[in-house]
Each structure stands twice: as structure tokens, then as C-alpha cells.
């Protein structure tokens, strides 16, 4: 193919109509291939961006859910929200221990009452 397209020196000085058409045809092909590659690149970038945005949205949604269940969490930034979350968890655990102690104390009283027939 390349050998067929090679032009003699005598013909090179002046562009014949057929030679001009060949040059245009090659340029058009190059443009088509370049456009296809650029289009594919753009599509890939778009997919990556959409996926990243989807994951960011998921994380943001989870942070908003956390803000809803932490008292006063809606007004906090991310750093303060996490510190408040840890403190709130510790507070809830202390509440649970306290209530369990009181509950076991009262249950022991009930058992003693039954034992003594009171």
C-alpha cells in the first residue's frame, strides 16, 4: 500500500487532483480515529467521576444519618461529630450499666420478699 502511494520525484513538484484527494482522505481518517479515541477517553473519565460521586454521596448520606441520631449532631462538622459520637456511645454504655445495677438490686429485693413471705 505504501509503495503504491509513493510518488515519483517528477510528480511531487505539482499536486495532481488525485494526489490532493488522497491527502484529504488520509486527513479525514486521522480525524475520525482521533475523535473516537478522545470520545472513549471522555467516557472513561465520566464513568470514574460518576462512580466517585456516587460513593461520596453514600458517605455523605451516612454522615447525615449519624447527625440525626446524635443529640445536637445536626449543627456539628465532621470532626466534632465523630468526637461527639464517641462520647455519646460511652454515655449510653454508662446508662446501661447503671440501669442494670438498679434492676438487679430491685430483683434481689423481690426475691427476698418471696423468701420471707412478705
Amino acid at each position: 500500500m505504501e509503495e503504491t502511494l509513493a510518488t515519483p520525484d517528477a510528480t511531487r513538484r505539482s499536486l495532481s487532483p488525485s494526489c490532493s484527494a488522497t491527502v484529504k482522505s488520509r486527513a479525514a481518517g486521522f480525524e475520525r480515529r482521533t475523535k473516537r479515541r478522545l470520545s472513549e477517553t471522555n467516557a472513561s473519565v465520566r464513568e470514574d467521576r460518576e462512580e466517585a460521586e456516587e460513593e461520596e454521596d453514600e458517605v455523605k448520606e451516612k454522615i447525615e444519618a449519624l447527625q440525626r441520631i446524635i443529640p445536637g449532631g445536626a449543627a456539628l462538622g465532621v470532626d466534632a461529630l465523630f468526637e461527639e459520637t464517641a462520647g455519646y456511645i460511652l454515655s449510653l454504655q454508662c446508662q446501661i450499666k447503671t440501669i442494670k445495677v438498679l434492676t438487679s438490686f430491685l430483683q434481689r429485693i423481690d426475691q427476698e420478699d418471696m423468701k420471707f413471705g412478705g
Binding site: V59, K62, A65, I69, F82, I89, F105, L106, I109, D110
Partner: protein
């Protein structure tokens, strides 16, 4: 009931301690990850956040259930009994 946060002298149950330590360390680990752009870090952050929300909801539910049981037991205590005096001294 007082919501004051204070360390209790008695040692906590092992499971609760382990859960607490594990969860707090996970929360600390999230903070630098949030600022990064890596996809896998965001996915793990989302999972830890979901786990945190579920854990807090479970704790709230447990507090409600225990409070209900405590209320029932308190109603059955005689107001003039010495046990009631002990409870009042604990709560006041």
C-alpha cells in the same frame, strides 16, 4: 437519670469494653480517610459509619428496654420500705 459522663470504678463487661475500644479506634481511623480521594477508603468509611449508626440505635433500644423494666420494678416497691429509702438515696 443523670447523663453525666464519668468513669466507673468497677470494671466493665469485657464484651462492652472490646466493642467500645474497637468502635472508637475505627472512628479515629475515619477522620484522615474522609479527606482522601481513594475509592476503597470511601467504601470502608461508609461501612464504618453504617456500623456506628446501627450500634448507637441498638444502644438506644437497650436503654429504652432496661428503663421500662426498671420502671415496672420500681412500681412494685413499697414506698415505706427501707429499700425505697435506699433507692432514693442512690438517685438523689
Amino acid at each position: 437519670m443523670s447523663n453525666r459522663r464519668s468513669r466507673q470504678s468497677s470494671s466493665a463487661p469485657r464484651i462492652s469494653d472490646n466493642q467500645m475500644i474497637d468502635l472508637v479506634s475505627k472512628l479515629r481511623q475515619i477522620l484522615p480517610e474522609i479527606g482522601q480521594r481513594r475509592r476503597s477508603d470511601k467504601a470502608s468509611a461508609s461501612k464504618v459509619l453504617q456500623e456506628t449508626c446501627n450500634y448507637i440505635r441498638n444502644l438506644n433500644r437497650e436503654v429504652d428496654n432496661l428503663s421500662e423494666r426498671l420502671s415496672q420494678l420500681l412500681e412494685s416497691v413499697d414506698e415505706d420500705s427501707p429499700e425505697a429509702a435506699v433507692i432514693r438515696s442512690l438517685l438523689m
